[in-house]
Subunit: 229 residues, 2 copies
DNA sequence: GCAAAAGTGTTTTCATTACACCCATGT
DNA sequence: ACATGGGTGTAATGAAAACACTTTTGC
């Protein structure tokens, strides 16, 4: 580390807001802090970035340590760096969000946390540090991204019904959608493949299962196709 | 600074890509580096963030030191933090972009720079550090933002003609627009005020001058209006 | 009077919206 | 047989796209 001076008295962390979707509600994975500062309060999972670690790597590490999942959607959102945002020194934080299938997550103990839990988004009104603001920023970002990129699927199981997909969009966007129009639109985009397979054991007419067709999407995108919902 | 350990051996900088618009071409303000590393190469203006300085403040400081302008549009884009992006240590950089009226800029000497100059975007193929990648990311961001936020005006003088505005959008978006449709659309959005004042000394029919009406836009936005071009 | 850019409406095309009934399954 | 959600088409509306000529000024 050849040059060091007053500027090298700071650190940077990554906070990763992990979104999950449960039946019809959006949730985020929070930790209850085990230590000061903000001991006992709920916070976003995060950690200091290690000296030999890229930022994205750090975000994936936090996610995997906490949930066991990897290879999921993850994107950088914004960097928060107010001088006094951390009571113990100058720490800026790079916020990421990730989208996981809540069923794939097996919550793991963490040295940082007393407790780890999925919390309904709507129920959260306060978090440690500036994490509430960070959460709001990430949520606005999710709401925008979901309209212009085919990432909704990341929150669902591999196989899903169109109604499940619609419920997902409805809760992310916080507005009701018309069933027929939704189906027409999403199917016309040609990024889903029908699995010729039906739901089992439901007390009503079973729905067709679909999955996202990443191949088809990739090709279409190269031809200039733009996903937009 | 109460806690310090191995993690506090890093620094963060802000790089600010400053866009200007000259007649019909997009330009960016670059500096020619005076010192190693990358001495003699063109780079984005930037600096380490001071210990008592917020990130946005740092970006504004860089802008003002270099150009004399302040109170202009400036927004954070992305944070670049690959382990080896800086040859002298772990330095992550938070990238910002700003939009200035090129006529208001009076380029100033800088301790960091041999030379400061406006460069046509299209002519740039290589920059110091990872600055070329940063520039591309900011440019993609500008192209997206300009369609959904009324920020094009920031690159023009206070008073401008509709044709000037159209040329601006055409060069940012890199595609030709239809004159009549463009005017219909932008005027229908009701965010411009006609100044009842004509161009002077032009060798053709003089055009009406307009300015952006921030008040009207603010009100319309509160009513749910969304700017979209 | 010529060159140069300003200004102006209508028609066609396409995407979005609104809307209601029958179907397949489990109990 | 009933309750539950699945699945389907059409007409009306509104936004976007295509398109050409007249006007005003300086030289």
């Amino acid at each position: 580390m050849p040059f060091q001076n007053d500027f090298f008295k700071s650190a940077f962390s990554v906070d990763n807001i992990i979104f999950g979707f449960d039946r019809d509600t959006l949730k985020v994975l929070l930790i209850k802090r085990a230590y000061e500062p903000f001991s006992g309060e709920w916070a976003l999972p995060g950690d200091l970035v290690r000296p030999d670690e890229d930022l994205d790597q750090a975000a994936f590490r936090i996610l995997e340590e906490l949930t066991g999942v990897k290879d999921v959607y993850l994107d950088q959102v914004h960097t928060f760096g107010e001088v006094n945002r951390h009571p113990r020194g100058r720490v800026i934080t790079i916020a990421y969000y990730s989208l996981v299938n809540i069923k794939n997550v097996s919550i793991r103990a963490s040295s940082f946390a007393d407790k780890v839990a999925w919390k309904e988004l709507r129920s959260i009104s306060k978090l440690a540090f500036d994490h509430y603001e960070i959460m709001q920023t990430c949520l606005r970002r999710l709401r925008r991204d979901v309209k212009f990129q085919p990432i909704g699927f990341e929150l669902l199981p591999e196989k899903f019904t169109l109604t499940e997909l619609q419920r997902l969009y409805e809760s992310v966007l916080e507005k009701d959608l018309d069933k027929r129009n939704f189906r027409k639109k999403i199917l016309s985009m040609n990024v889903l493949k029908s699995l010729d397979e039906l739901q089992q054991n439901v007390a009503h007419r079973p729905a067709m299962l679909y999955s996202f067709d990443a191949e088809k999407y990739k090709l279409a995108k190269e031809q200039g196709f733009i996903f937009e919902l």
